[in-house]
């Protein structure tokens, strides 16, 4: 059974009196443990797709189901139980350490502060960001921000992680490490639906789709045997792992 299902989802915005289509008849599934990337330019509808999948926005039409049921109402942080949402661009708030910041979703759910911090530290370890634990958000570099944002999204133990363009502000030489981290999370049995704005973002994913004008268009999956045949004779064109 699919973990996440979007069926004929549509979403429109109004800019003054003008209607703008953000999503048009979008259908998509994500299986447990699957890593799916959606490749699109900014304003293609890719972020709206993630926000609707997270229940942060309501579609105008169509269905969104998580674990076979209609998307449950959001918790205190606006996210349904079982879903983590990674929006890179951690607020430049002062005061709290990164450890406390990562623990916030647990504290909001009523966890004891010590327990919340212990679990937050485990997630910082998981994403390779322990050295950031006692820094403040404004002290992080772009790559650390992504790692910390992922740790914060993982701290509640989601089954599905939604990640919005994780390499967008990351230095060119650091991007593969971020993508390998996302891959490792999916390998750890947390399904990932990720958007990306570059070809590198779809490397090694289980399924890649493109989006433009709010429409999902092309799709490539690990079963693209014809493509493997096409590229097998070319150095640099790898068969999927």
């Amino acid at each position: 059974m699919s973990l996440l299902t979007l069926e004929q989802v549509s979403k429109r915005y109004y800019r003054g009196r003008r209607e703008v289509t953000a999503l048009d008849d979008v259908s998509l599934t994500v299986a447990p443990g699957e890593l799916v990337a959606v490749w699109g330019v900014p304003r293609s509808g890719r972020t709206t797709l993630l926000r609707i999948a997270a229940g942060l926005e309501q579609p105008d039409g169509g269905d969104v189901r998580f674990c076979g049921e209609a998307l449950p109402a959001g918790h205190v942080d606006g996210l349904p139980v079982g879903i983590g949402y990674v929006e890179v661009g951690l607020a430049n708030v002062g005061g709290e350490s990164i450890l406390d910041h990562v623990a916030i979703p647990l504290l909001a759910r009523g966890a004891a502060p010590e327990t919340a911090r212990e679990r937050a530290m485990l997630q910082l370890e998981r994403v390779g960001a322990v050295p950031c634990a006692h820094l403040q958000p404004r002290e992080l570099d772009p790559t650390e921000r992504v790692r910390v944002a992922i740790a914060q999204a993982l701290v509640t133990g989601p089954r599905l992680l939604l990640v919005d363009d994780p390499t967008r502000h990351v230095d060119l030489l650091e991007r593969e490490a971020v993508l390998l981290l996302v891959r490792s999370i999916a390998d750890g049995d947390v399904a990932v639906l990720m958007t990306t704005g570059e070809a590198m973002g779809v490397s090694g994913v289980d399924r890649a789709l493109t989006i433009s004008g709010g429409v999902l268009r092309a799709e490539a999956s690990a079963d693209s045997a014809n493509v493997v045949a096409l590229h097998s004779a070319r150095i640099g064109g790898a068969k999927r792992r």
Binding site: S44, A199, V202, A218, E219, V227, I235, G236
Partner: protein, 207 residues
């Protein structure tokens, strides 16, 4: 020379002089999941490269400088022919790497077809969109099959140079795919604009 295995073997010989079985093992490690030739193809590649004067046997007295692989006692081994790259082999490899970084001929073909579609037939914009859709599928499939760059963990300077070349080739191919992806978005808008213009003007073909 078209064989990807031959080019891969040449690249490995350039990194350091070597012989058939050792090249087979290095190629397996380096191109895991990409190239999977039997060892006989490695020997065939060495023969072809030698015939083309791209590699040459290493003189006997130079072989002592090549590290032992420790696979079998020396007394039981067949004499191994170590190869090194010739000057023309190194030049040819550099040209081949540059060739890998050139634009995709499919893109040129797509433009030719769009031009042909614009010049004839009905339902033109639909056909153009279908061509662009197919090209987008090819791009996303290729992008998803490209590996992430190799780790920077080479043990020798020559291997580090090999990794550097791989990373640069991959970056070039990804850069092209990014450019083509941006072009696809632009092409869709242009085709829609073309359709609006075509509907506005009175064309004899549509009369």
């Amino acid at each position: 020379m078209r064989s990807a295995v031959n080019w891969a073997v040449l690249g490995l010989v350039i990194e350091r002089p070597s012989y058939g079985y050792e090249l087979f093992q290095r190629l397996e490690r380096r191109y895991v999941g990409v190239l999977d030739p039997p060892i006989s193809q490695i020997y065939a590649a060495l023969n072809a490269l030698e015939r083309a004067d791209l590699i040459e046997p290493l003189p006997e007295d130079h072989r002592k400088l090549v590290p032992d692989d420790g696979l079998r006692p020396a007394a039981k081994r067949q004499p191994k022919v170590h190869y090194r790259a010739t000057r023309s082999g190194a030049c040819a490899f550099r040209e081949w790497v540059a060739e890998q970084m050139r634009d995709d001929p499919r893109h040129v073909e797509l433009l030719r077809r769009i031009a042909g579609t614009a010049a004839a037939g009905i339902d033109r914009t639909r056909t153009m969109h279908a061509l662009v859709d197919a090209y987008e599928r090819a791009c996303v499939e290729e992008a998803s099959l490209l590996p992430l760059p190799p780790a920077r963990d080479a043990a020798t300077p020559a291997a580090a140079a090999g990794e550097l070349v791989e990373r640069l080739v991959l970056a070039a191919r990804r850069g092209l795919l990014d450019a083509h992806f941006a072009w696809i978005t632009y092409a869709r808008k242009e085709i829609d604009a073309y359709e609006r213009t075509r509907m506005r003007i009175d064309e004899p073909a549509d009369a």
